[in-house]
């Protein structure tokens, strides 16, 4: 027993020292740190789907581990360290709030590769990745602009951060493009997930005349509120929410992390992993547009699909000038395309939106 324990200790120590080389004899170990429960049906749920896809794709060659509902802060740092100690070769940290902890732990384990979602701090062994969800928002805005009869679109926003503001701007620009009379009513819920509050926010927007609801919060409560109202259009967020189709849910944005997770795991196995800054959209499949249902008129569906195709082909960028900022000052000249730096830190509304971004 004692000898046995010593031996396993020694092997593990050896594994640590050599960084668990993936030479075909040893499994590659991939760790995932989640900010919510895997059963949240939204953000973490989709990351976990990505993990399951990795397991399925590589079979016995790869072992995955995860810890769920890890608070941002010292707990996250401990979980990452522990995964690295236990021989993980690659660790995905799936929340913006893990940024400094990821950098700290990566500094202590130079042989372990880290992938931090939605952050901006890179290191030799830390990549960052995020999805261009605004491309999906543009499609939603396009459909929403066509579908609305009251010309009032309700938007349930979570927190006033660049990611959310980008989504509002992208949706508004493309709704306005097809329907110049459109008006956005924006409610800040200050939560990513609170069914009761989201349901209330949706009801409020519907009562104030909105007949299309866009949401940047993760629960299906707004879908249910729209269904109860009867004539209100919604879109799935984070996951497909297909169970509310074909109406009120007419389409959705799905976070599809599987292709990226498989590719990065493959890179570690091949020894070709490098620190990268990935911001993928519809083209590589990181942002997926869920089935556009028949509740959408055929010509609108066709134009939306054309828009998806042109983004996929790289011909179209949702933030293409001329675009002015809310105060009327020029942002993008005619034909100019927004640079990633401005988009990443977006903290202003585009012209036409009313109200202020809460500070």
């Amino acid at each position: 027993m004692k000898l046995n324990k010593l031996l396993t200790g020694a092997t593990l120590a050896l594994g640590l020292a050599t960084g668990a080389l993936a030479d075909g004899h040893e499994k590659t170990k991939v760790g995932f740190v989640y900010v919510g429960p895997v059963g949240d049906g939204g953000w973490t749920y989709e990351h976990n789907q990505g993990r399951l896809a990795v397991e399925e794709h590589f079979g016995d060659a790869v072992e995955t581990v995860f810890v769920e509902s890890v608070p941002e802060g010292p707990d996250a740092e401990r979980v990452m360290t522990q995964m690295a100690l236990q021989g993980a070769d690659l660790i995905f940290t799936t929340s913006f709030g893990y940024m400094d902890q990821t950098i700290n732990v990566a500094g202590k384990f130079p042989d372990v590769k880290f992938e931090h979602a939605t952050g901006y701090k890179q290191a030799d062994n830390v990549s960052v990745y995020s999805a261009r969800f605004y491309e999906g928002r543009a499609v939603q805005g396009h459909i929403a602009g066509h579908m609305t009869e009251s010309n009032v679109i309700g938007y349930i926003a979570s927190f006033p951060i660049p990611e959310v503001i980008r989504g509002i701007n992208a949706a508004y620009l493309h709704a306005k493009e097809v329907n110049p009379d459109v008006e956005f009513k924006i409610v800040w819920a200050y939560t990513w997930f609170d069914p009761a509050k989201e349901a209330e926010a949706a009801s409020v927007l519907i009562e104030q005349g909105a007949d299309v609801i866009l949401q940047h919060t993760d629960s299906t409560a707004p879908q249910a509120a729209a269904q109860a109202a009867g004539n209100v259009v919604t879109f799935g967020q984070a996951s497909d929410m297909a169970e509310f189709g074909p109406f009120p849910r007419v389409s959705s944005i799905i976070d599809n992390w599987s292709p990226y997770y498989i590719a990065r795991t493959q890179a570690v196995i091949d020894g070709t992993w490098e620190s990268t800054n990935t911001w993928d959209g519809i083209a590589p499949g990181m942002v997926e547009i869920g089935d556009i249902t028949d509740a959408v008129p055929a010509e609108v569906k066709a134009s939306a699909e054309a828009m998806i195709a042109s983004m996929e082909a790289g011909d179209y960028h949702p933030f293409t000038g001329p675009i002015n900022k809310q105060d009327g000052s020029a942002w993008l000249a005619d034909g100019e395309v927004a640079d990633d730096g401005t988009l990443a830190g977006m903290n202003f509304y585009v012209e036409g939106l009313s109200g202020d971004i809460p500070q």
């Binding site: 200790g9 593990l12 120590a13 760790g31 429960p37 895997v38 581990v65 995860f66 810890v67 769920e68 509902s69 890890v70 608070p71 941002e72 802060g73 010292p74 707990d75 740092e77 401990r78 979980v79 360290t81 522990q82 995964m83 100690l85 236990q86 913006f96 709030g97 400094d100 901006y120 927190f159 006033p160 951060i161 660049p162 200050y190 990443a344 830190g345 977006m346 903290n347 809460p358 500070q359």
Partner: protein, 360 residues
């Protein structure tokens, strides 16, 4: 027929034996649960309860126990005085948040000046912030007779909103690309609550928690204040005759618990957490209430209870990542542990008698 008979004195033997009994019962029931989930019960139990202390990576986990346990112990010590005196501050979470905000604000105000005076000033601000936040339910209770349970609980939600507002507004990192969250204090040397000995986990919050345990022990067993607190809890009328001023007692107990919770928040934000963010608080203030009761409101008991809670958290994380156990199973086991600890305490204060009750 089984009956309970109150012991004239709490049993010393049982007060030591019951926690062990509870842990044993949890291991048995938890083992059954884990077996039902298709895991090896012995391996799982060992992972949760022993691996953080004795596995090959214990050198990493042991300091983590201090980091995780210190805020729990510090807050619970403060709460225990009020709970003994019958003053129910259940809003320590809010006081923890406000302490962190005030302390961090002071530190960030000086950024990037380097001076040895900054960290002490932050500690004072943190304690003051927590104290003032706890004084709101205290003063309302004294002046208007409002219920402190409710007011302190309501103020937790207010504090959470305040923190969101700070993370997105006043304290937002100007170099943070528009993302929420303050500058990282642990990267600002004058404001950082660093480990006193590198790798030991001993940051200033741990030291403060240990000092608080010692002071609380002395106050409760040797000092007139401790006596008054116990008297106020056991018999408010007797306390009044003994000259204990109930108003002062309420304010002191609320202020003390708030101040320690605020200090815990400051040490956390300046050290392990590093920054004010929307999700800065993780429920230490509520867990500390459980810790206070598990420790039987006794300083040494609280120290042990805080350690036990920290152990199950860290062991639970190891079990999740190494054995693929869902977090839900660990929460369930923690709930069981608490139930058993609370349930077996009956043996300390009551003797179990079998057979028919005698007619007197």
């Amino acid at each position: 027929m089984i009956t309970l008979e109150k012991r004239p004195q709490p049993s010393r033997i049982w007060s030591l034996a019951t926690p062990l009994l509870a842990v044993l019962l949890t291991m048995i029931c938890g083992g059954l649960l884990f077996a039902a989930l298709g895991k090896n019960p012995f391996e799982t139990i060992r992972t949760i309860f022993l691996d953080p202390l004795f596995s090959e990576f214990a050198w990493f986990y042991r300091p983590q126990l201090l980091i995780k346990g210190a805020p729990l112990v510090l807050i619970a010590i403060g709460l225990s005085f009020g709970f003994r005196a019958g003053i129910w501050n259940i809003g320590a979470e809010g006081q923890y948040i406000v302490g962190a905000i005030c302390g961090a604000a002071v530190g960030l105000a000086f950024y990037p000046t380097e001076s040895f005076i900054i960290f002490p000033l932050m500690i004072i601000a943190g304690i003051l912030g927590g104290t003032l936040w706890a004084m709101i339910p205290g003063i309302l209770k004294v002046k208007f007779g409002t219920n402190e349970i409710l007011v302190s609980l309501m103020l937790v939600y207010v504090a959470e909103q305040l923190m969101a507002s700070m993370a997105l507004g006043a304290l937002r990192n100007p170099d943070g690309m528009g993302f929420p969250g303050s500058r990282n204090l642990s990267q600002y040397p004058s404001a950082a609550n660093l480990e006193i000995i590198s790798g030991s986990g001993m940051h200033w919050g741990v030291v403060t928690a240990l000092i608080a345990v010692i002071f609380a022990y002395i106050a409760l067993s040797r000092h007139i204040f401790g006596f008054n607190v116990r008297l106020a809890g056991q018999s408010p009328r007797a306390a009044k005759f003994a000259g204990v001023n109930p108003t002062a007692m309420i304010l002191i107990c609320m202020g003390l618990s708030g101040g320690l919770a605020g200090a815990a928040g400051l040490f956390e934000v300046a050290g392990p957490a590093g920054q004010i963010s929307i999700d800065f608080n993780v429920g230490y203030g509520f867990t500390a209430i459980i810790v206070a009761f598990l420790g039987r409101l006794h300083p040494v008991g609280i120290l042990l209870a805080g350690g036990l809670m920290a152990l199950t958290y860290i062991g639970g994380e190891i079990a999740q990542s190494n054995l693929g156990l869902p977090l839900a199973a660990i929460q369930l086991m923690q709930g069981m542990l608490l139930f058993f600890l609370l349930a077996v305490d009956v043996l300390t204060n009551y003797a179990v008698r079998f057979g028919r009750r005698q007619v007197v």
